[in-house]
């Protein structure tokens, strides 16, 4: 039945939390998703056949946000958000699309799907891709055949995208439980919904990139310039050299540079000044 299951207090809501701060955009999640699901619940997933271009449940976009030195480049994995109000389910005329009452996973029954594509029209997130070979709609299953699989060691009972992520940018858990690790992570980091104006109430959350470190403690607060860094390093070295000459051990200014900017001094500063000039042309 494509009517949604009634939500009860403490409802289990399995989902993902995706950390846009640590995602490195390697596409490993997308590849391992394809790997597992090609032979999983909704498999096979068409690929490289005459009239189809392949069904993937997970796609990694890269966006730029903002301009200039405060801009960010953000890798952005996109998959089904297992919404609490999934219109993709309610528009389904056959009951093939359904939201599981026990854990909130949104699935498609490939045996009863007629391939009308209306669910993909109703989804704002592009989670559903039509399999032209099978004539049915396919989507992320949250690896329902992996996370409950008793044949696997307990540590492996996680969605394929989560277990493969080399940057630990993907977290899996019960977002209906406010004390779960994923819920705490969302609370700490200000996890947010995509397109909240649609009112679909996604279960999956995205963690925003952390604030940028400016890397210098003086000068204009919101600008970093290679010249500034190089000059400060050179100044620090001159002061150190002077301190050695005059025998004063602690005379060198210590607050000048953040430690995580390994900029060479002396000749290096000249090189950086030249690089900055060249790059600014």
């Amino acid at each position: 039945m494509t009517c949604l299951p009634e939500s009860v207090p403490g409802q289990k809501k399995l989902g993902l939390v995706i950390d846009l701060d640590t995602c490195v955009g390697c596409h490993a999640c997308a590849v391992n998703c394809k790997e597992w699901n090609a032979s999983g619940h909704s498999g096979p997933l068409s690929d490289f056949q005459s009239k189809s271009d392949g069904v993937w449940f997970n796609r990694v976009h890269t966006f730029e946000a903002g301009r200039g030195e405060t801009s960010r480049t953000v890798h952005f994995p996109r998959s089904c958000l297992h919404c609490e109000e999934p219109a993709c389910v309610t528009v389904c005329p056959t009951g093939a699309s359904y939201k599981r009452a026990e854990d909130g996973i949104v699935l498609v029954n490939a045996e009863t799907c007629i391939g009308c594509k209306l669910c993909s029209w109703a989804c704002p997130y592009g989670a559903r891709e039509f399999d032209e070979e099978d004539g049915v709609m396919k989507k992320c299953t949250l690896c329902v055949d992996k996370i409950y699989n008793d044949n696997l060691p307990e540590a492996d009972r996680q969605p394929a995208c989560v277990s493969t992520c080399p940057a630990s940018a993907r977290h899996f858990g019960d977002l209906g439980d406010p004390n779960s690790d994923v819920s705490r992570l969302v609370a700490e980091r200000g996890g947010y919904d995509l397109m909240p104006e649609m009112g679909y109430r996604p279960v999956n959350k995205y963690l925003p990139p952390r604030p940028k470190k400016t890397g210098c403690s003086s000068g204009s607060e919101d600008t970093i310039s290679l010249i500034n860094l190089a000059e400060k390093r050179a100044e620090k070295q001159r002061a150190e050299a002077l301190a050695v000459k005059i025998g004063a051990k602690d005379a060198a200014p210590t607050e000048l540079l953040a430690d995580d900017y390994p900029v060479g001094g002396g000749k290096g500063a000249a090189f950086l000044r030249w690089a900055d000039r060249m790059l600014s042309r």
């Binding site: 494509t2 903002g66 219109a87 009308c116 209306l118 004539g135 995205y206």
Partner: protein, 315 residues
């Protein structure tokens, strides 16, 4: 949105069919002398044939047409399912009405009851068809207050034009039908005009910033797409060909769907006779071209929010 030909034929043919059935039912209620058995049977059978052609065409859009019957099960939540159920329910009064006319050259009160049931059945099915599109929050151009009125008006316009041509082909003149076509046509023209004005107004409700949640850093731009080739999403939701020629296609729609048929109908009313019939048939042909162009545009101008992930700024 990709304008699938099967869906364009489905919505236009079944719309015209239900319009024709509704007008016939309405005019037959008072048992006017100009409705005789040949006209009644031709009209009813032609209307039902159009509806069947539309429904048949809609199954061509399915990946698994052999499972189409399953679509009747989820009427509690799905407008597509409701449309299927309503279409089947509507076959009862319309089919029985046709049987009445087959059984008797002047069917009595039973036919009037069936005609009375045909009108809401035809309108309800058209409403469900419109709501398949009108209920989708993801497409601003469809979830528009004028989507449903547009579907009604065009169904009634094309149905009235067909009925008018048929009455003239059967050698009678029913000015009431032509008046109905003029009213429906003027209303449809006005509605379409305001609909186009409405969707042309820029909307910033859903943007690349709300889609990614990265608006806190400033304007969001796609830096790298997830794949180098087109995928299903880009073909189905990112259709952009007709949007480039939108002004020309709208002009074509206005000329063939509204101006042509309305002028032809007026001329048919003015000259009558053989030329009147020719003008009435011309109106139908013109409107057929026009309604296909209109429905093509209805899809092609619709912009799905998923395009925000693929480089669109707002949808």
């Amino acid at each position: 949105m990709h304008p699938a030909f099967s869906v364009i034929v489905f919505t236009t043919a079944s719309g015209a069919g239900y319009g024709l059935l509704a007008w016939f039912a309405l005019f037959s209620l008072s048992s006017p002398s100009w409705i005789d058995r040949p006209l009644a049977l031709t009209t009813l059978i032609f209307g039902l044939a159009l509806v069947c052609a539309g429904l048949g065409s809609s199954t061509l859009h399915l990946g698994r047409p052999e499972r189409a019957w399953r679509a009747l099960s989820q009427w509690r939540s799905s407008w597509l399912s409701r449309e299927g159920v309503a279409a089947i329910v509507a076959f009862a009064p319309t089919g029985l009405l046709a049987l009445c006319w087959m059984a008797s050259p002047s069917p009595g009160v039973l036919a009037q009851v069936l005609a009375l049931l045909t009108i809401p059945a035809a309108l309800a099915t058209t409403y469900c068809t419109a709501m398949i599109y009108g209920s989708l929050k993801t497409i601003r151009q469809w979830r528009h207050p004028l989507t449903v009125p547009n579907y009604f008006a065009l169904s009634l316009l094309t149905g009235a034009l067909l009925f008018s041509a048929m009455t003239r082909l059967f050698g009678t003149e029913a000015l009431g039908v032509e008046l109905a076509a003029l009213v429906a046509g003027s209303a449809a023209f006005a509605l379409k005009h305001f609909y186009w004005r409405g969707i042309d107004a820029p909307s910033r409700v859903s943007t690349a910033e709300t889609a990614t949640g990265l608006g806190r850093f400033g304007e969001v731009r796609l830096f790298e797409a997830p794949h180098t080739e087109e995928n299903y999403l880009m073909r189905e939701m990112g259709f952009a060909i007709a949007r480039k020629h939108v002004a020309k296609l709208r002009l074509l729609t206005v000329l063939t769907l509204f101006v042509g048929p309305l002028v032809s109908t007026l001329l048919a009313m003015a000259v009558g006779g053989l030329f009147g019939t020719l003008f009435a048939v011309t109106a139908v042909v013109s409107a057929a071209v026009g309604v296909l162009a209109e429905r093509w545009l209805f899809f092609a101008e619709a912009k799905h929010v998923v395009t925000l992930f693929y480089g669109a700024k707002a949808a």
